[in-house]
Amino acid sequence: MGFASVSDYVAADEAGQVWVSSFRKTVASAATTTNAWTDYTYFAGSPVANFYASTPLAAALIEADKGIYTGGNVAPATKHLKNLLLMSAASAAASTANGRQEVALCDYLLYYPFIDTDAIGEEQVFDNTVTMPRYTGGKVVAVSQSAASTVGQFTFTYTNQDGVAGRVSQNNFTFAVAGGGQVVSASGAGASYNPFCYLQAGDTGVRSIESVTMSAAGGGLMCLVIVKPLLKSVVSQESRRTTSGNLESYGACTELASIIHQAGAPRVIDGAVLGLLASGYAGSLASSILAGALEIVWG
């Protein structure tokens, strides 16, 4: 069960039914695309990097240690996100490129790795022996697993949130990226960047993906990941200090208290693998560091 009142949150806290974890992820040195999305789980730090390295085209679960630790299983109680803090350290004293990030905290559910974006016209069929462990549907994120050289196009077939099989996504674009960990789904001829792939009209989620077909080569490898977005926030200003002239300090922390800032504290299901997607609107996120903390409470 959740919480019936503010005092319930306090009581849970006093009873030790709370866990706080910090995390720190460093984006690789390969440039990311301004306005496009990046998968922080792919990069080094704490938790450790998640490269989606498993059998090609076979559905797989992301290991628990790749997600932010949230206090273990608590059933029959239910865990909820109480607070989230986010700050981003600039890659250099004069760099402002990592300011103005939009951030999505997600539960990473299932992924299909090593899709060849050069396999034009070939239906790459997925092995779905492993099934989605939580929820009945999620959003699909296309994450690069290598550099990609050009704009590709693809559709995928899937089972939707209601269990209806044979659904076919709208046409999705990929675009050129400099390395792995970058979200390559786009529309508008590959120049309008999306965090989530476009589904068949009317669908709100995906339970499993059966196959993917490239209609234009993207020149790389990608992974399709099903995630459940839990919360969106922003990082407003990069943290840095100048080293010449008038020394100046910059930085801001995003503090989100779910009890205040939105209706209800998002639930974190036992077994959840939490990670973050982000879009850098000020420039490349390369070599910047996202440092944050989240607090989980259970009733």
Binding site: S46, G72, M87, C253
Partner: protein, 298 residues
Amino acid sequence: MGWTSQDDLINQLTTNGKGDTVVTTKTLSSAGTAGAWTLLAGHAGYPPAATFTGTDLTYVPTDDTWSEGTIYTGGDVSPATKHFLSGGAACVAAAGAPWYIMAIDLVGFVPLSGTNVSTTGTKTVTMTALGSSGSKGDRYANGQGLRMFVAADTAMGANAPTCIVNYLDTGGGAGATTTFTSTASMGIGQLLNTGAAANKYNPFLPLAAGDTGVSDIVSLVWAGTAHASGACIIGLCKPLWMIPVPATGLYCKADFVNALPSMRKIPDGANIQFLLFQTGATTSGGTVNVDFDYGYGG
């Protein structure tokens, strides 16, 4: 009890003087480790640097009379209850930003040194389990809400063994933390279980599923290649609140009265200490300033 209304709070503070402000400063004695947490108690400043004196492998309870350095918060006020009203923090260091400052109530610690650090195997701890007596040592009944960490007391030597801590939960049941991998050569105060690498847990050791606290520290088990030298503690604490510090020289203030839920209780006997998270390696000599206001009613 606390306060019955905002007016009651204001009256108790301004008319009856039931509250005060605390300021503390610490200067880091060595460079920090990027992505790791540091217990500031062992660093110079106010309160003075603690050395965590005690008999090896024997639990040392601490409270607001701890001779090695604690922050005075007005003494006992029972049956009234004392609460945080606000907190502030700033860091000044050429490197390390951004930071997080976490206030904790350090309920006690277990010191380990000599061969208890430089050899592997099970190091059995002597500790009387926390109960519900209402004494200061039991200020969190049966260890409810308490968390553990392992911090360097002196600089650690080479090698990075794995480590697990066995404990009893709030009901007296046996539990074990998740195994973490230590880090070689961490400096004073740095938490061996934290960092930006595999098998690190920031800042506290994960408990067994469903456990909400720790009533008894049973043993610490080193495996692999032991640290070449050093001394460390197992810290037992209650996390209280956290403040972000985005850049050097910026002062950040948190209002605990109007945030929800807030006004964290300061139990009689609380030994308030601070943990520092550093995104980069904080410069040796970096200064950390923390302050907070507290009040009580009744």
